[in-house]
């Protein structure tokens, strides 16, 4: 099957007085229709910037998409005139944000904001739009949906607001959904429900998802493939099962080992939770060679000087590491 979204060698830099931050530094990702791709990594690794770059929502200045190619169904988004790009936003590619408390406009009702999303892209009557919005709110299981239209965001709980966001994002049945930490801000008890709803709708509309998260549990449960990012690069990508069972990159390995596993039977006086030594390097001043080398436990001499290539380490399993080159 053809890819619905293809990101090739994307570079997004931020030019600031302190220097140039190479937030996304050669990322390539692809997405098949209906597929869920987990994009994981520590904060500042460029996963959110990758998502925003897809919609060309990087604020310029200071940010700029320097090079690369982002194709939606074969059409290069980076070459589109602004007007045409706007037609794609919210219609064929939509986005869900991390903080439902601040991603909905406090000055407008839920109804107003949902109707706006629909009427911007579809020439339909108001009555029809109301029907579709109410129907969508019912699909995300918001009780007495019709009455909620007149509510302001502050009338709703965090979980309800995120449902509203999902309803809005799915209103136009997009081909791609960019979900940026969609449940991080929610109570644990609600996270599962919200994710469940999101998957139900994307499955129904055959929407592919890039699920940005630092929560490996969520990825393990829902994604088909995982890409791990570190300092603006994808350092490992694999089908979800392979990645969790046999991570190849030392960083991925460390990441997985630093997650507590509840049913592991460890004796008293057990080992402390694994910790990757050192800190994420400053984007303004990346180490030479492999940017992970100062923290790597399996460092080789070449790591210090040369950028590791992408290496095929298994079926559809890629790692960017000198250990396998």
């Amino acid at each position: 099957m053809d890819n619905i979204l293809d990101i090739q060698d994307l570079h997004t830099f931020f030019y600031t007085p302190e220097g140039t931050a190479k937030a996304v530094n050669g990322v390539s990702l692809s997405l098949k229709p209906g597929e869920i791709l987990g994009l994981v990594g520590e904060s500042g690794c460029g996963k959110s910037v990758t998502n925003l770059s897809v919609l060309r929502l990087i604020s310029d200045p200071p940010g700029k998409i320097v090079s690369g190619k982002i194709s939606l169904d074969g059409q290069d988004l980076l070459q589109l005139p602004k007007r045409d790009m706007r037609k794609i936003r919210g219609d064929r590619i939509s986005m869900i944000f991390q903080e439902p408390m601040i991603s909905l406009n406090p000055a407008y009702t839920i109804g107003n904001q949902l109707m706006e999303a629909l009427l911007t892209h579809r020439k339909i009557s108001r009555a029809e739009a109301v029907n579709r919005v109410v129907e969508m709110l019912q699909m995300v299981e918001i009780p007495s949906a019709e009455k909620r239209l007149k509510d302001y965001p502050h009338h709703l709980s965090g979980g309800m607001r995120q449902r509203v966001m999902i309803a809005e994002a799915m209103l136009l049945r997009p081909q791609v959904l960019l979900a940026d930490e969609p449940t991080t801000a929610l109570d644990v008890t609600i996270q599962a429900q919200v994710l469940e709803l999101m998957y139900k709708l994307t499955e129904e509309f055959d929407t592919a998802i890039i699920l940005v998260t630092h929560n490996l549990g969520i990825v393990a449960e829902s994604a088909q493939r995982v890409a791990v990012m570190y300092t603006g690069r994808v350092i490992e990508e694999a089908p979800v099962k392979d990645l969790f069972e046999s991570p190849r990159h030392p960083y991925t390995n460390g990441l997985l080992r630093s997650v507590p596993v509840p049913d592991q039977n460890r004796p008293a006086g057990r080992e402390p939770l694994y910790e990757i030594e050192g800190i994420v390097p400053n984007l303004f001043d990346l180490p030479s060679g492999c940017s992970f080398h100062p923290r790597c436990s399996r460092i080789k001499d070449i790591c210090r000087h040369e950028q590791p290539p992408e290496v095929e380490v298994g079926t559809n399993h890629m790692a960017r590491c000198w250990l396998y080159a």
């Binding site: 925003l52 919609l55 929502l57 706007r86 037609k87 794609i88 936003r89 919210g90 219609d91 939509s94 986005m95 944000f97 991390q98 903080e99 601040i102 991603s103 909905l104 406009n105 406090p106 000055a107 407008y108 706006e116 999303a117 911007t120 892209h121 302001y152 502050h154 809005e168």
Partner: protein, 314 residues
């Protein structure tokens, strides 16, 4: 909302009492004697004493204050020493001029400041931003009387675009009336425009970096809609407060502007009354202006709920 309004109206009473108290004693601190001014330098001391007694100005100040306050409560602002007419009647005649002038000035200043502030925020830290902000610094620092005299000189005397003297009420002949008001209103507006533009810029900057603005763009909205519908409405709250406070500046500025442009408004009346040490007239006018100011600020606070629905008055 109704309860809140009633409560706020009740708060007016202490505020206005303090204003009344201050203006009553402050005008009496100005050196000079109203009777002396009225009767001229040649008047003999006995006549002065007699007139002073007749007007009750010989009594102890607290008693005078009590008597005046008592009649103000009953709606009687007293009689002007200078013109011998009821102060309230003069206020009623002149108030429409001042309210037209200040409303027009408010309108001009918003038309100037909101787009300027928005553009400065959108083009933050670029040449355009610096240029607009330089203008606002000039606007804040240029004194009203100087701006007034200068614009009179340039636009009325040199260029002859506007009449330099006289006044036609706008409610008698709208367009002619407007030509008399444009120059004073713009002069009066500039200071407020500068302050409001700076406020709009900073609150727009505050709003533009929020996630719901990115969300609005991610929906596929055009930049105009993002800025005006999504950003400006949220940014307008703090600006609105500034506008309410600045309205006091407009009323104060009207005293100077009306004098420079010789408009028969409340401001000029205050100026003339101060010169004549016309105590009842000054007291009445200032109290009246204070009332307008608090009413405007109540309206501003009630409008807040429109721009920020999270605020509820209960």
């Amino acid at each position: 909302m109704l309860n809140y309004s009633i409560r706020r109206l009740l708060y007016f009473i202490p505020t206005l009492f303090i204003v009344a108290f201050m203006v009553f004693f402050l005008v009496r601190l100005i050196p000079g004697d109203p009777i002396q001014v009225m009767l001229g330098d040649g008047a003999n001391p006995e006549t002065i004493a007699a007139v002073r007694e007749k007007m009750g100005l010989d009594r102890p100040l607290p008693i005078q204050f009590g008597i005046w306050l008592g009649s103000v409560v009953k709606g009687d602002f007293g009689t002007s020493i200078q013109t011998n007419r009821p102060v309230l009647q003069s206020i009623r005649e002149r108030f429409p001029v001042t309210i037209t002038l200040t409303t027009l000035a408010l309108l001009f200043s918003l038309l100037l400041s909101i787009p300027t502030g928005m553009l400065a925020a959108v083009y933050r830290n670029t040449g355009k931003d610096y240029f607009f902000m330089l203008l606002t610094i000039l606007g804040v620092s240029a004194p009203v009387f100087w701006l007034g005299l200068l614009s009179l000189l340039v636009f009325s005397v040199k260029l002859g675009w506007f009449p330099s003297i006289g006044f036609v009420p706008i409610w008698e002949d709208f367009w002619t009336g407007l030509t008399y008001l444009i120059l004073p209103a713009v002069t009066l507006a500039l200071h407020m425009a500068a302050v409001v533009a700076r406020m709009t810029r900073s609150s727009m900057l505050e709003v533009l970096r929020l996630e719901y603005i990115t969300h609005a763009r991610a929906k596929g909205l055009g930049e105009g809609k993002v800025l005006i519908k999504h950003a400006l409405k949220n940014a307008f709250g703090p600006t609105l407060t500034t506008i309410g406070i600045q309205y006091g500046q407009l009323l104060g500025g009207a005293v100077i502007t009306e004098s420079v442009f010789s408009l028969p408004g409340l401001g000029r009346y205050v100026m003339v009354s101060i010169h004549a040490r016309d105590y009842p007239a000054v007291q009445g006018c200032i109290l009246f202006m204070a009332l307008i100011y608090v009413v405007i600020n109540l309206v501003v606070d009630l409008m807040y709920t429109y721009f920020d629905p999270r605020i509820e008055y209960n």
